[in-house]
């Protein structure tokens, strides 16, 4: 032992005695469990309550019924925000996961300077949404970004003005989000690919399978649990999207790229409509439930079949 021991009360001895206590695991887990309960379950319930209360600028605890939900759903802006959530969410999650997987598979082919590629692709995640959004706003901006560059190279009728058009602006948010997160998905997938037993691939080669078939039938099914992890993480990125949209489009042009998180923020802290904001927040939670509950049922159904 490198450090002197004071009788049997050395740190090692204490740790050992602690480990023997049956109470230790619950004790160690307790702080994070309590925090999770208070912050996740507790505040979710509080929000739900607020959404049916008479609160305005400050919380009030009188019961108002479902008036705020009705108000919410009769608002055109909320309809757009909620549609955007699903549109952005599905495209962003699928796009980032697919691009990440593709990059991971390419890097898995023992490319040269692998560490460099990994860092390059992972780097966007280290940049905050605000910076990402600002930079990409310049890139998408017709008068300063890609359109300007291509036109100045001689293609004068080239046009790339998605960010200023109502029907396409949301896709600039999707592209920026995918740029930001696909490296992260790549890192997770690459770790998973590297953990696959190389003998499996050798066996499949001897079995006469070509590389695409080996990936589709053997490697990717083996890392299926990882897909779930990546999708869930990306999904919660998607639902939290707030600062990215704010920095990139500020919800515009007009209200074309509003998302529910912006809407909630607006209602609660700009307009003093706490109850309706809470109702909107509950609807975001509902969106999550709509996605996750069927998945959970499907997963447990699969497990019962095995």
């Amino acid at each position: 032992m490198p450090y002197p021991q004071a009788g049997s009360a050395g740190p090692a001895a204490i740790m050992q005695r602690l480990r023997r206590l049956p109470l230790t695991p619950p004790l160690v887990l307790a702080p994070s469990l309590i925090a999770t309960l208070v912050y996740v379950v507790g505040f979710a319930l509080w929000s739900a309550w607020m959404s049916v209360s008479t609160s305005t600028l400050l919380p009030r605890y009188g019961y108002a019924g479902f008036v705020h939900y009705r108000a919410l759903w009769s608002n055109h802006r909320w309809g757009i925000a909620y549609t955007n959530l699903f549109l952005f969410g599905s495209l962003y999650v699928a796009g980032a996961a697919l691009l990440g997987l593709l990059l991971a598979i390419l890097i898995d082919q023992r490319v040269r300077a692998e560490a460099l590629w990994r860092t390059v692709f992972l780097y966007p995640l280290a940049i905050s949404f605000v910076v990402t959004g600002t930079v990409w706003r310049w890139i998408f901006n017709p008068t300063s970004g890609v359109q300007h560059l291509v036109r100045s190279l001689g293609w004068h009728d080239f046009s790339f003005d998605w960010i200023v058009r109502r029907d396409t602006a949301i896709y600039t948010v999707v592209i920026t989000g995918i740029w930001h997160a696909s490296g992260f998905a790549m890192a997770l997938f690459l770790a998973g690919l590297r953990a696959v037993d190389p003998d499996l691939i050798k066996a499949a080669q001897i079995d006469g399978a070509a590389m695409p078939r080996i990936y589709l039938r053997i490697i990717l099914p083996t890392i299926r649990p990882l897909f779930v992890a990546v999708l869930v993480i990306l999904l919660q990125f998607a639902i939290k999207t707030f600062d990215l949209v704010l920095a990139l489009t500020s919800g515009g042009p007009g209200i074309a790229t509003t998302v529910p998180a912006i809407y909630v923020y607006d209602l609660m802290f700009q307009r003093g409509q706490l109850a309706e904001g809470a109702a909107a927040a509950v609807m975001i939670l509902a969106a999550l439930v709509v996605v996750l509950v069927p998945y959970g049922m499907w997963a447990s159904w699969r497990r019962s079949r095995v």
Binding site: D197, K202, Q205, I206, D207, G208, P221, T222
Partner: protein, 366 residues
Amino acid sequence: MASLSIRSLGKRFGPVDVLHDINLEVEPGEFVVLVGPSGCGKSTLLAMIAGLESITTGEIRIGARRVNEVPPRDRDIAMVFQSYALYPTMTVRRNITFGMESRRVPKAAQAAALARVASLLQIEPLLDRKPAQLSGGQRQRVAMGRALVREPALFLFDEPLSNLDAKLRVEMRTEIKKLHQTLGKTTVYVTHDQVEAMTLASRIAVMHQGRVQQFDRPRIVYERPANMFVAGFMGAPAMNFLPAALATVADRPCVLLPADGAAPVALPLPPVAGEAALVPGRRVILGIRPETIGLAPAAGAAATVEAVAEVVEPTGPDTMVVARLGGRQVIARFDPDTAPDPGDRITLALDPSRACLFDADTHRLI
């Protein structure tokens, strides 16, 4: 069935030379075992035969065809891996038929081949399970099934039994031998276990530090090991090595073995290949297998030496006795009935006709 020739094969991983000048000619239907300590290059050699590792120098032929540039799937081989490498997300059935699906074998032929292999290995009840739901022995069988279903020209095994417990290992060993006797396929089998090598092989290639030390029938490898490495590696407990010298006593060449205190003991010469090498005074190593040492009824008989029993280790059928002889430890295998007690002074009867002589410098068999 096909022959396999490996000619002047070498393998290098970057700056590291892993295999040097490997030459093996495997006859059709033979069961060749590559045996050697961990890290000697057995798996690398097998992977090169399979086409999973590139060839640095030399060539490999399966049948008459040079396969150096042929990808694994076109080499007409099947391989069983140490980890079994069963596809974890597929049922046993799909594991076995995956190769045939990849090769677009018609469904009816697939079903027939699956049925044949499943009944041969008695794995019919397992067909709809996933690998995670199988015991180690069952996984091993499925891995064998996946290889057998191909009816390849060449079977390759990489330590297929080393993840099984001792009892199952012996059972599966017998089963593999039986399968080979029924199917008669050319087989290359890698193991680090010399008992497996002795029991299974029609010929053994003993490998050490990337070279084949000896390639011969098990009995020859055991009785006439090419060098001291082979002699020490094959057989447990290992062969005893005693430094000695050649001499001429009464006009006959013999081996002088230093004994405790007393004058050296002159032993009759073991069988040697080159009579010309018998220069009196040449330093040699006498190699004696534990089971060729007996207890002499009386001291002073021919080829006997005095020793002290130090440790006695009963194993059941035999009792191992560690004795001290001429300042060296010697292990002898005795019948439990006649075994001495620790501390006893004993007279050991050596059997020179079953001993080996090695050169003291080159460690090669004389």
